[in-house]
Subunit: 153 residues, 2 copies
Amino acid sequence: METEALLPPMPGQRLARGVCRALRQLDFVTVEELVPTPGLRVDVMALGPKGEIWIIECKSSRADYMTDQKWRGYLEWCDRFFWAVDGDFPIPLLPEASGVIIADAYDAAILRMGPDTPLAPSRRKVMLQKFARHAALRLQGLRDPNFNAFSLV
Amino acid sequence: METEALLPPMPGQRLARGVCRALRQLDFVTVEELVPTPGLRVDVMALGPKGEIWIIECKSSRADYMTDQKWRGYLEWCDRFFWAVDGDFPIPLLPEASGVIIADAYDAAILRMGPDTPLAPSRRKVMLQKFARHAALRLQGLRDPNFNAFSLV
């Protein structure tokens, strides 16, 4: 049985956990906190069974959303963009042209698909490589914690 | 300080750990036990900074090597193929045309490069996708252990 102590400490991380669980049911795999380019760090990057690349930004509150100045910068790094918010979030605040996911720490549901804006093949290849490196580095950090796998990231 | 208790239990896994550490120093990222196609499971698959895909088979003893009937099947899934063995292994036993890495649980060194046989672009893309999915799934399994991320693999 899961206890509260096992939940990620930050509200945004809890939403991210639920998002990652739900996306897995759609046969997507996910990583958190990937940096597509210096200065940007996405909450969740998802890779679909056909190579789809989605970015999901998790907003735990209206204030969290209103202070995000960077989100438009994420659009060029994915095929689809989504906000993930909890059930209390004022959805009309979100731009109509972006996807919406309702999430909690345990699961999530897509309320509205983000528009499909396919990446150019060269950028898709770069993003797939970044995703693979990010996931493998963090995995090595967990399976061999005495080795500083991040020293050369 | 690292203790013996933290080492992987199997001799081949210990070699794999040293191989993964050494490859990291060359800016490669790695996963273990990836399945490129049903019936094949590679010990280490490595992804290089320029997208290079290497496979490394870890052999803990002469007997372990002599009973491997499948290794030629790995060649078509990588740009370079290597054996990883410990310092006591009789190197002349290994095919002259394959790469050799000398490893222990802590580090490794490339003794002989495997020949460069570049993958076709379509297969490279497939392998990069498999690598990314494998790494992300196992990472999710570790960061969210209460969720059965492998149910749909």
